[in-house]
Each structure stands twice: as C-alpha cells, then as structure tokens.
Amino acid sequence: MADPLLRVENLVRRFGGIVATDNLSLDIAKGELHAIIGPNGAGKTTLISQLTGQLSPSAGTIHFAGRDVTQLPAWRRSTLGLARSFQITSLLPDFTAADNVALAAQAHDGHSFYFWGQARKEKHLRDAALSALTRVGLDHRADVVVSRLSHGEQRELELAVALATKPQLLLLDEPMAGLGSTESTRMVKLLQELRREVTIVLVEHDMEAVFALADRISVLVYGRVIASGSPAEIRGNEEVKRAYLGDQHVVTRHG
C-alpha cells in the first residue's frame, strides 16, 4: 500500500483514570471511505477530536499527508485539508446558511484581516457557498438563519461547511444522528457521491448505512481497534460479533 493519507500511531488519551484511546493505530488510505464503528463510549468522538485537534493526545503521533500534525492546533489542520462535522450539530446559529458556508470558504482564502470591504458582497465567496449548498441540496435555503433550519437541514449544512473548506479528508461524526428515514436515505446518497471526490472517515451508528458505504471498517471497543477490514470480513469476525454486533443486536440479519 502507498503511503496512507492519515496515519495514527500508538495514540493514547487519558481522562483522569479512564483511558479513552488506548494505544490506537490506524491507517486511512487516500480515496477510501473508512467507517469507524463501536458501541457507545468506545471513544469514537474522542478519536475524531484528536484527529482534528480539538483534543490533544496524551501520547502517540498523527501524520496527515506525510506531515506530523500531532501538535498543530485545530485551525492549522483545517488549512491543511482536514475537515470535520460534529456529532452534535455545531454551526453559527445566528448566521444564515450561506454565511456559515461562505465563512468556511473565506477561511481558506488567505487571512481575514480585511476591515473595509463588505464580505457578503464578495462574489467568489458567495459563489463557493452556493455551490457547496447546492451539493447538499440546500441552495433554496441559503438565506435562512441557521436556528430556523430543521435538524435534518442543519446536518446537511454541516456537510456543506466541511466541503467548502475543500478538504482532502472529511471526518464525519455521526452525520445521520437524529435523521428520519427519508433524510437518512438522502444523506447516504449524498455520501455516495462525495466519496468519489474526497477521502472520508465515517463514524456512524446506522449499520445499514455503514455496510452500504464503507470500503473498510474499523471496530473500536474500549479505545482499541479490535478489528479492521472489509465489510464482509467484519461481518464474519467472531470477536466483533461477540464484542459488539451480537451483543447489542444491531445487525438483526442473523436473527
């Protein structure tokens, strides 16, 4: 395998006496959609937060595109092409949908120490925002204030914001969380299109979506990767069944 886009080595994160990430190593190859699954409290969000820099690890290294980013702050990693969506929707609630996306585009268009010109009238930022909104099917809601968008629309907007930063790697923390079935179907379709353009790490509880989308799946339990492989391999893995799937009866296919 060629050099991976993201390489995590021996990552450890402790919260007091609890080890949330336990000597975890993981490679994400360029172009793949890599799903991370695991029961509640397995440390999935903790892992994502360390990858994007909201949390710093207690030990271990993270390499992104061949560069050690372990000590870089979140905003620097974003400028290198690492984008995330949040499990609990995290947007600018008093800004419009278009503003939210345009700011993401602005963040990747040089510094923002411009004090005079009207940013909302800059055509290339607005165009970038509109095209990202169109990608996720929200262009008709561009001028609506975020706090008035439905939950499903906010989830889609999260994705548009991440896309507007032109990422190389997209880390999606439960994009389907709280979505109805039609909304979920739309989101899966959207991710199916996006995976052709960008490498994706997907943390998700919706097993149907995970097995439909993923090239590879890593199973996280108690902060450790207990298995990693193709969907078929994961389905057949005894340890996974015991630790996770069978236990919680998430995959009911086996009856």
Partner: protein, 315 residues
C-alpha cells in the same frame, strides 16, 4: 423584518439629525447648558460604541473599558503639564498608548473566557487606576488640571463650545461608520462568528485569538480617543475616570441601548446620562430610581432599547 429595521433606522436618523442640530437649538434658546451636557454624552457615546464592538459584536465582556478613557486623558494631561500643548502630538500619543495597553492586556486576558475574562479585564483596569493614583507628580489621587486644551494650530479651536461639540460629534459618527465597515468586513464576520461558536470557527480554519486581539485593540484605541476628548472637555483628568464603576457605566449604556446594534450604544449613552442628570436634580438618591429602571429594561427589553424598537412594529 423590514418594519423592524425601519423603526430602528428612523431612531438612528433622528439621533443623527438631533445631534447635528443641537447647537442651533442651544443658540436659539440661549440654553447653552444643553450643549455642555450633550458634549459629555457624545464623548461617552463614542466610548460605548467602542465597547460595543468587542462586547456586542465580539462577545468579549470587558469590564475594564474605562481604563482607556483614563489613558487617553492622561496622555493629553501629562503632555500638557510637560509643556507639550500640540494636539498633533497629544492625540497620536493618546491613541498609540491606548492601543499598546489594549495589546498587552488583550494578549493576557484573551487566554481566558467568560467570568474569568470579565475579572481579569477588571483587574487590569484597577491596576491602571492605582498607577494613576500613584502619579504624585501629576496630581495623584486629586487628579490633574489641564490649563490649556489641545492646540491644533488654528485648524480647530477646542475652547470654542460649538466647535468642540462638532469635533466630538464628528468623532462619534466617524467611530460608528468605522464599526459599521468593520462589522460587515471579512474581519468583522470572523469576530462575530467567534462570538457565535468558537469551536466551529477553529474547525473551519480560523485562529481565534489573533482575530479577537486585533478587535480588542481597535476598540481600545477608539476609546482612547474618547478619553482625549473627555480630558479636553473637563479640562481635568483624574484616576476616577478609570474606576471600575465607570467601566460598569459603559457596559450599562451598551446593554441599555442594545448590544450588537450600531446605534444602540448611542441611545444607551443618551438615555443613561440624561436620566442621571434629571434624576440627580430631583433627588440625591437618584441611583435608587435608576437601579430598578435599568433592571426592568434588562429584564423585559432583551436587546435593549433598540431591540424594543425592533419589536414595536412587529407586534
């Protein structure tokens, strides 16, 4: 939405027109006191506008903003006392000193959030207060009388009441225009985004602290200008202008008028200082009336007076 904007725009237009025409009224009615009063109001309005930039738009609850009033004032007073009367020296010194002070305390304070930020800005302002009180050469506790107002080489005479009033009003309108440009600029959107959701802004690639710091410095500098004006207005500067209650007054003006609205702080300054003036004529215990009044407005008028005006037309 448009109706609410209209009510607020009408209020703003009335304020601008009223402030511009005030000297005419003073002259016609022979009531020059109103001009003196409003010169003071306009200066505090400028200070409140600068505080609104960080507090209303930037979400930085600075409880030490009056420090810049003192710094700007002492820059003028100390230079005057040392025989440097030119405003072309005094005023740039006032602005630069305020900017540097803001840079230093901002760099330290902005590492904290919430209550800690409030407390640390308060502490720095109190430090400035005690430093000024310790300046024995410049009057110490008693303050420093300024015997000659800043000299602008005949360009403008600050001792002329009307001229000085228009200078202050010009500075206020200039300050409001500047804030308007900033708020709608790329920089302004970043600062407002940080107020709204800092984590999100960092995740999309903005280094939070440096944008906040620059905003903090701009506001401090603008308030330093208000300090230079205030010292010229009272021909006097003392540590009292930096006392924490002064910073509280400025915060109240901003909240009263409407945080994060362009003309809110001006409305707040006018209402607050007029009330203070009127009530103190009625009773010595005017604060007893002022307190509950403010409480009511804060409790029932979220968004301040400008917010109320906004809802007026909708309901």
């Amino acid at each position: 939405m448009t109706a609410s904007l209209n009510a607020r725009n009408v209020a703003a237009a009335l304020i601008v027109a009223g402030l511009l025409l005030l000297p005419l009224y003073a002259q016609l009615s022979g009531n020059m006191f109103v001009l003196t009063l409003f010169t003071r109001i306009v200066i505090f309005a400028l200070a409140a506008v600068s505080l609104n930039l960080i507090m209303g738009y930037g979400g930085m609850m600075s409880f030490g903003h009056a420090a810049y009033l003192g710094i700007g004032g002492y820059a003028v007073g100390i230079l005057a006392a040392e025989g440097i009367g030119s405003g072309f020296v005094q005023w740039p010194v006032a602005l630069v000193t305020s900017a540097l002070f803001a840079l230093v305390i901002g760099a330290l304070s902005l590492r904290t959030r919430g209550v800690y930020f409030i407390m640390i800005t308060l502490a720095f302002a109190q430090m400035a207060y005690y430093v000024a009180a310790g300046l024995a050469r410049y009057g110490g506790d008693d303050g420093l009388t300024i015997y000659k107002r800043s000299d602008f080489a005949g360009l403008i005479n600050l001792s002329g009441r009307v001229q000085f009033y228009y200078l202050c009003t010009g500075c206020l309108f200039g300050g409001i225009y500047l804030v308007w440009r900033i708020v709608n600029s790329r920089f302004g959107l970043v600062v407002q985004g940080l107020r709204s959701n800092e984590q999100r802004m960092q995740a999309i690639g903005f280094p939070a602290t440096r944008y906040r710091l620059v905003c903090f410095v701009i506001a401090g500098t603008m308030c330093g200008l208000a300090g230079a004006l205030l010292a010229n207005n009272t021909d006097f500067v003392s540590p009292a202008v930096m006392y924490w209650t002064r910073s509280g007054d400025l915060m109240v003006m901003v909240i009263l008028g409407g945080m994060g609205s362009l003309f809110g702080p001006v409305v707040g300054a006018i209402v607050y200082l007029l009330l203070e003036e009127l009530l103190s004529q009625v009773t010595e215990y005017w604060a007893l009336i002022m307190g509950p009044l403010l409480l009511l407005i804060v409790l029932f008028g979220r968004g301040g007076i400008m917010g109320l005006l906004g809802r007026l037309h909708r309901g």
